[in-house]
């Protein structure tokens, strides 16, 4: 493992931008392409927003943790955890356009985006215990990436 960081922060929506820019700053040492940075920032934003809206139902005094590990072969691993309500039916939740909160204008695309932008997505969830997402992405090896 080349480098590792763990970030824990309050489940307030102001921290969504902070979380994704911190992860982006951390993976910068792998010289990712602009697209790779955008994709990783997006999945972090989706996962953190899910924890705030669904996991913690907008209670602002809970905590979200992001672990980011990067490897010499330019692979990135993201583990995002909340201690919130948990997901009843993961299969249903992963359905594109499925959302349990349409009244909040949620588009139900969070998990589809994570699936599409990352190489792998694992969802572990227990009712009233919380949810952990493990996502991995192999960044392209070319050196001509901008950072």
């Amino acid at each position: 493992m080349k480098n590792r960081m763990e970030l824990t922060f309050l489940s307030v929506s102001e921290n969504e931008a902070f979380a994704r820019s911190t992860v982006a700053a951390f993976i910068a040492q792998l010289n990712p392409t602009m697209d790779e940075v955008t994709e990783i920032k997006t999945v972090v934003s989706e996962a953190v927003t899910n924890a705030i809206i669904h996991g913690y139902n907008h209670q602002a005094d809970s905590e979200i943790t992001i672990v980011c590990e990067i490897f010499a072969n330019k692979e990135v691993e993201l583990i995002i955890t909340d201690q919130g309500t948990g997901i009843e039916n993961i299969y249903e939740a992963k359905e594109p356009l499925y959302t349990s909160k349409p009244e909040l204008e949620r588009s139900g695309m969070g998990f589809s985006i994570m699936d599409s932008f990352m190489d792998s997505l694992e969802i572990y969830s227990t009712i009233d215990k919380g949810t952990t997402l493990i996502m991995r992405k192999q960044l392209t090896k070319t050196e001509t990436a901008c950072h």
Partner: protein, 117 residues
């Protein structure tokens, strides 16, 4: 980086210019202001210029779809222009362009809505 919003009326068309990052935090604020504008101004159609939008997640898609529904229910049209390349992937995934018209720039959009640009 937050979100900057700019609203201007051109005859009965509301032109919305967004710059920066649109996530859940900013979407909550944008929804408020945008709905306020739709109520206050005599708005028929809306043009959304995303040239300076550098980041959007699914919360952004949600707030756009929400406004699209309101505008079309009121008999108007939402036209989007200048979609920044970095948003391309998420827009394609959302299938937004199957239901919302995309124009090259504000002039074309205004023209298509019968307003001299």
């Amino acid at each position: 980086m937050g979100l900057k919003t700019d609203f201007t009326m051109k005859e009965h068309v509301l032109v919305v210019r967004l710059s920066g990052e649109l996530d859940h935090h900013e979407a909550e604020i944008l929804r408020e202001i945008w709905q306020q504008k739709l109520r206050d101004e005599n708005v028929r159609h809306v043009i959304l210029n995303l040239e300076e939008m550098i980041f959007m997640d699914s919360s952004g898609i949600g707030v756009l779809l929400g406004r699209y529904k309101e505008i079309s229910q009121a008999g108007g049209e939402l036209v989007i222009c200048k979609v920044n390349p970095s948003l391309k992937k998420i827009f394609d995934m959302s299938g937004l362009f199957k239901i919302i018209r995309l124009e090259d720039n504000e002039q074309y959009a205004l023209h298509s809505l019968g307003v001299a640009s």
